[in-house]
């Protein structure tokens, strides 16, 4: 059962410990948020400066993917335990979606 957390036997200590953990985690969240903003800025600047199309397209998509991974693993807690089934199904969805996008951008060319 998932609601049996490891306990020290003393609820107060546990709560203190948990609060601290939560706080620490919140710090990580803020860090990843700043990173996300940073990535967004790079993407917008890259486009604003108008580098070559062949460079920009893959580059900003890469930035988007990184950013989304931050969202998923930090904001949506996928890095936590108990997310095996969610990640299995999310990645399956991503796979199906990627195949779809690939097909639509290759074999509908006219």
């Amino acid at each position: 059962m998932a609601n049996h957390q490891p306990t020290s036997g003393n609820p107060r200590v546990d709560i203190e410990y948990r609060r601290k953990k939560n706080k620490e985690e919140m710090k990580h969240q803020v860090t990843s948020f700043s990173l996300m903003i940073f990535l967004t800025l790079i993407a917008f600047f890259a486009v604003g400066y108008g580098y070559s199309h062949w460079f920009i397209a893959p580059f900003i998509i890469l930035l988007a993917v990184i950013q989304v991974i931050f969202q998923l693993y930090y904001f949506m807690h996928m890095s936590h335990k108990g997310h095996e089934a969610p990640s299995l199904f999310l990645y399956s969805g991503v796979t199906v979606g990627a195949i779809t996008v690939l097909a639509f951008s290759t074999i509908i060319w006219w």
Partner: protein
């Protein structure tokens, strides 16, 4: 709660079913609704076959034929076959994993009612100007040209019932992942549960592309967008892709549960555990996975180019391997077994050669260059009826006989059952075998009639005669159902005598809470293990305690009805009718209003108390 119900009046029973959230009753609803639509689709098939019996026939007109053809395919796939497999999933899967219900009983009911209202909406088209007539695939250029509102009904109806199916899929997945009884590890799950699992995953990923495709179709037809209008930059091939990205997994959504049912049957009636269980699991997952990589084999002649065609051809052929693994595992389950030829087992046995014939023609059409000849001919019609009727329909008929006692507490008559079987088997091969030849002799599919002197006359006549055999078989089965229900001889937990899985360890039908105490599962074929150890039933995994149950609710019907109303509004908007927008708004108000009501009103369910359970005789399936 009207749960430990005695005899009730008709009104009360009806209300009970309208508000039920019990997976066993929802299963019965799916069975009845799916069965009804099967008769409708079958009737449409008979119209097709009568029209094609002789050349230049004028039994129906050309336009009407196209409507019948489209509705036959659509009804059979979406409103008959899928709900019927859902019926068995609902009835059996929670019992097989030792759960008291599905994860979201309310959503389960909602799923059913969405399917039902979607199906009714689709069929309303018959009375409101004309049914859809662009084939069940509804290819965009033709669908946009279609003059009646039929296509609108198709797109909106499937949208509604598709939403229901998607909910059902998620529900089953969560149930299987979260609600297995103690000891029921993944690799101890019965094969039918496994196939429910993979099927549900396919539903989860296959339906969204259909949803999108249908939205684009709705927007183009009703709201003036240009997705499929080449003159405004649109592209009809998008529809083809979206449809088949859904459509191909869909056929595995149909066949995998069928495989599951047969796996149970082979084991039960050979008195042997499923041969190669783990490779069966693996093969099922692999089929599900590959199912998403092959959709373009329906589009070999679209002009995607040789690279795409070659890739998809080879990927498609690969599916033959895991399917073959399953076929041989079934054969070797029987090998060395002790086979009894009950009605379900007869279907299972007949399924093997029938399905293999359909499967191998699938591989033949997968050969892209050869498919340029097969595509859109009766060869393809023969292929898919061999896999669908020889696989899915056989499984549904087998499952009906197998699980009837579990669902209704009484056995279908075996003698009539066998008559149905033989008539259906003969009729099936008579109807569809000859169609392979019609196809390669040059008969295209979806033609409302054919001219004489092309060599099609005799074979079409034979095919039609076969269809009549099937119709008689279905009628015999209906008689069987009626007679059995009137006689109503009650049966015990394990009426077939050789049940292996948990559902056979509890009464038929099970009490509404299924398991008084959750059972402890000690291995694959949990009940069989206990029986072999000389025990009467399962060992409980928990002390007798209160059981938490969900409340019944009428809200699912209301939510679904709201969308039903809104869909009429959408059709009206497409026709530029004044009533369109108000009706749409009213419909959405009903739906969202009732959803709002549902989410704002707390519903904690109720508890059955320990004391009541103890009084409840021993009918509560001691674990």
């Amino acid at each position: 709660m009207s749960t430990l119900a005695q005899k009730k009046g008709f009104g009360a029973t009806l209300w009970d079913y309208l508000t039920t959230v019990d997976h066993k009753k929802i299963a019965i609803l799916y069975l009845i609704a799916g069965g009804f639509f099967f008769l409708v689709g079958g009737l449409e098939a008979m119209v097709i076959r009568i029209q094609l019996a002789i050349p230049n026939n004028d039994f129906v007109s050309a336009g009407f034929y196209n409507e019948v053809l489209t509705m036959h395919g659509t009804t059979m796939i979406f409103l008959a076959a899928m709900p019927l497999v859902f019926a068995f999933m609902n009835a059996v899967m929670p019992l097989q994993i030792g759960a008291r219900d599905v994860a979201f009983p309310f959503v389960n009911a909602l799923g059913f009612w969405l399917f039902f209202f979607g199906g009714v909406f689709l069929n309303m088209s018959w009375f409101l100007g004309g049914a859809p007539d662009a084939g069940w695939t509804s290819y965009a250029s033709l669908a946009l040209e279609s003059p009646t509102n039929g296509i609108d009904f198709y797109a909106l109806g499937l949208q509604i019932s598709g939403a229901g199916t998607l909910m059902g899929g998620i529900n089953f997945l969560v149930t299987i992942i979260n609600m297995r009884a103690p000891g029921m590890t993944y690799m101890r799950m019965p094969m039918f549960t496994w196939s429910t699992f993979v099927t549900s995953a396919l539903i989860l990923f296959a339906f969204p592309p259909l949803t999108v495709g249908l939205f684009l179709m709705i927007f183009d037809r009703m709201f003036g967008s240009n997705f499929f209008d080449a003159s405004a930059g649109g592209n009809t091939i998008i529809w083809e892709h979206l449809f088949w990205i859904f459509g191909h997994p869909e056929v595995y959504i149909l066949i995998l549960p069928a495989f599951g049912i047969f796996s149970e049957i082979f084991a039960i009636f050979s008195r042997k555990r499923l041969f190669g269980y783990s490779s069966m699991v693996f093969a099922t997952v692999l089929i599900g996975f590959l199912g998403f990589m092959v959709w373009a084999h329906h589009m070999f002649t679209t002009g995607l180019g040789p690279i795409a065609n070659a890739i998809f051809a080879v990927a498609t052929m690969a599916i033959g391997v895991p399917t073959g693994i399953k076929i041989f595992n079934w054969l070797f389950t029987m090998w060395g077994g002790s086979i009894t030829f009950t009605t379900p087992m007869l279907y299972a046995i007949a399924f093997i050669p029938s399905f293999v014939m359909g499967g191998v023609t699938g591989i033949m059409v997968a050969s892209a260059a050869a498919d340029y000849q097969f595509h859109d001919t009766y060869f393809v019609v023969a292929h898919f009826h061999y896999v669908i009727v020889g696989g899915v329909v056989f499984a549904i008929l087998a499952g009906t006989h197998l699980y009837w006692p579990k669902m209704f507490g009484t056995m279908l008559n075996e003698f009539l059952g066998k008559i149905t079987f033989w008539l259906f088997l003969i009729g099936f091969h008579l109807t569809f075998f000859i169609q392979h030849f019609l196809g390669v002799w040059g008969m295209p599919r979806r033609i409302f009639t054919f001219l004489p002197d092309q060599g099609f006359e005799t074979s079409n006549m034979v095919s039609t005669i076969g269809a009549f055999f099937m119709a008689v078989a279905v009628i015999v089965m209906l008689i069987n159902v009626i007679m059995t229900s009137i006689k109503n001889e009650r049966v015990g937990n394990d009426p077939w005598g050789d049940g292996r899985t948990l559902e056979w360890s509890i009464p038929s039908p099970p009490p509404f809470y299924n398991f008084k105490q959750l059972p402890l599962v000690r291995g694959l074929d949990a009940y069989w293990i206990e029986k072999m150890d000389g025990k009467k039933g399962m060992t409980p995994a928990e002390p007798l305690g209160d059981i938490h149950m969900p409340n019944s609710s009428f809200v699912p019907v209301v939510i679904s009805f709201g969308l039903f109303v809104a869909a009429f509004g959408a059709v009206g908007i497409g026709d530029k009718e004044a009533y369109g927008i108000p009706v749409l708004v009213i419909g959405f108000l009903i739906t969202f209003g009732s959803m709002f009501f549902r989410s704002v009103k707390d519903d904690h369910g109720f508890h059955i108390h320990k004391e009541d359970l103890m009084n409840d005789d021993d009918k509560g399936g001691k674990a």
